[in-house]
């Protein structure tokens, strides 16, 4: 699946989200590599300076 639209709700330390997507299609999306897995490299979740939150992870491809 490839996701393109998200609705995220934050309630204290709880996050609920809906994600919309479609099955990956080589012809339509022209993906280059598969994600092997999410890693702990530079894993970071914190309030962003401009408001909201920033969550980051590095994917192994």
């Amino acid at each position: 699946m490839l996701f393109g639209r998200y609705r995220v709700q934050l309630d204290g330390h709880h996050l609920r989200a809906h994600a919309w997507g479609e099955p990956a299609s080589v012809e339509h999306h022209c993906p280059a590599v598969e994600v092997k897995g999410a890693t702990f490299t530079a894993l970071h979740v914190a309030p962003a300076p401009g408001g909201g939150w920033l969550a980051q992870t590095v994917m192994d491809v």
Partner: protein, 476 residues
């Protein structure tokens, strides 16, 4: 890596002396230019690995090493379970048992040139390649478990190959002590439709000609001669291996404190070999090795079917099949004493020397074939394991060229279509579902494989036997 940080032991051997929490030194096998070009992270990671409990001898770095997850890619480390040794999911890698298989064809370069484009199209049409690729094979739950225990032997039992193939595969085609029960339902679900698929990224299938022979005696024993044609398959354990890596990495990070492990870097997540988690990971990882062996066996069957159609006079027995992301229990002589060690090879190839009992009779006198995949459009190499390699790095050698540039950089440097056209002008026909993938895998994004192989030969890790050049490349 700054040479100031190293003590030179020989033309292609450098030591990172013991410091801080290191339990053993680290040793880099590479020439000066390759060492200088290595990311400083490789140095840091080799040092971190040397700090892990139960490590024996040294933390080894192969000539093609680059920055990996926890362990460098191109890292070799052996652990003694009796000395509190650990097993690390990051020390094996996400693509468990990614490896290379080489098939003879009995054909000559001229045979391929006569049908080159037709062969390329037929291979591309029949070898599922690229992101999300699936084959017509669907495994039920019971068949999945049988595959995870039986590996290539299971595939041969299903009619995909012959029993003669099995003796040319490490572990005779199936890794013992695999535990399908320790592989999650999600990992099995991801694999259900992916048996007999190449995958994407750096995975490929190439038809190659033997361009140069360095050691005629060993080449003769391997059945290689200049002008001859082989097929090289590079792929791994697909979604199942990736999922096992992801899940056990997380479990190992969480459980580390309960095992009394203080990790220099959380990417080094590991578990004692003698712990429930260590045993579970080993069982799941061995099941993933079987998945990769079965996958390459099924792909072999697909390749044979294509050749039967396009070049019916071809015969495609297996030369050899190596895995370069594994942890295996092996007996090695350390300071004159035989010891049972868990050898992690991440982006490193097992390279047993002449006389090793694991090798098939036909290869035992000359040593194990070490198959080194180049990058698309460049040379690949066949090397042979040496007797000396055991004392250097637990009988291990390099695995490929190793990336010199990130995928992102490559994408901004090359255009996939141009790369395909340039390779075609050089006589190499490339077929791929993704031109973007081609740009990311452009030959220039990799280190010079010849320099890597020369360094491995010079260091004594393995001996150069033959150089291969691609004629057809199906890129995942």
């Amino acid at each position: 890596v700054d040479l100031e940080l190293l003590r030179r032991r020989g033309p292609c051997e450098w030591e990172i002396p013991m410091q801080g929490a290191m339990r053993v030194p680290a040793v880099i096998y590479a020439d000066e230019a390759l060492v200088r070009a290595m990311d400083l992270k490789v140095h840091e990671q080799a040092v971190n690995v040397a700090c892990l409990p139960g490590i024996v001898g040294a933390s080894h770095v192969m000539p093609d090493a680059h920055w990996g997850y926890g362990f460098p890619i191109g890292g070799v480390a052996a652990f003694d379970a009796d000395a509190g040794g650990v097993v690390s999911a990051g020390g094996v890698g996400f693509d468990v048992s990614c490896g290379v298989r080489c098939l003879h064809t009995g054909l000559q370069r001229g045979d391929i040139l006569a049908v080159q484009r037709r062969l390329a199209d037929a291979l591309f049409a029949n070898i599922p390649a690229g992101v999300g690729s699936t084959s017509a094979i669907r495994l039920s739950g019971a068949e999945m478990d049988a595959m995870l225990v039986g590996g290539a032997s299971w595939a041969v039992g299903r009619g995909w190959g012959t029993s003669a193939d099995l003796e040319r595969i490490e572990e005779h085609g199936h890794m013992l002590h695999a535990k399908p029960a320790k592989v999650s339902a999600q990992a099995k679900r991801r694999q259900r439709d992916e048996m007999g698929t190449l995958g994407s990224g750096n995975h490929y299938l190439e038809v190659q000609e033997v361009a140069e022979v360095f050691d005629p005696t060993i080449a003769g024993a391997y059945g290689l001669a200049t002008g001859g044609v082989v097929v090289m398959i590079h792929c791994g354990s697909r979604g199942l291996g990736h999922q096992i890596g992801t899940e056990y990495l997380r479990e190992m990070v969480v459980a580390a404190p309960s095992h009394g492990l203080t990790l220099p870097d959380r990417e080094l997540a590991c578990a004692p070999i003698r712990s429930d988690l260590g045993r579970d990971y080993l069982g799941a990882m061995r099941a993933a090795i079987n998945c990769a062996l079965a996958n390459r066996q099924i792909l072999t069957h697909f390749v044979r079917a294509v050749f039967a159609e396009v070049l019916p006079k071809a015969s495609l027995p297996v030369l050899y099949d190596v895995s370069h992301n594994t942890c295996k229990l092996e007996t090695h002589c350390v300071d004159g004493q035989a010891r049972e060690l868990y050898v992690h090879r991440k982006g490193a190839t097992r390279a047993f020397g002449p006389g090793h009992p694991e090798l098939p009779a036909a290869l035992r006198d000359v040593g194990q074939p070490v198959l080194i995949g180049g990058s698309m459009g460049t040379s690949s190499y066949v090397l042979a394991g040496t007797t000396r390699s055991e004392s250097l790095a637990f009988s291990s050698a390099c695995h490929g060229a190793g990336r010199a540039m990130s995928r992102h950089q490559a994408l901004h440097t090359w255009n996939g279509r141009d790369v395909i056209d340039e390779l075609a002008a050089g006589g190499i026909i490339v077929r791929s579902p993704s031109t973007r993938g081609i740009a990311e895998e452009a030959p220039g994004a990799y280190k010079d494989v010849t320099a890597v192989v020369d360094a491995a030969d010079e260091a004594g890790l393995a001996r150069k036997v033959a150089r291969l050049l691609p004629l057809v490349c199906v890129k995942g």
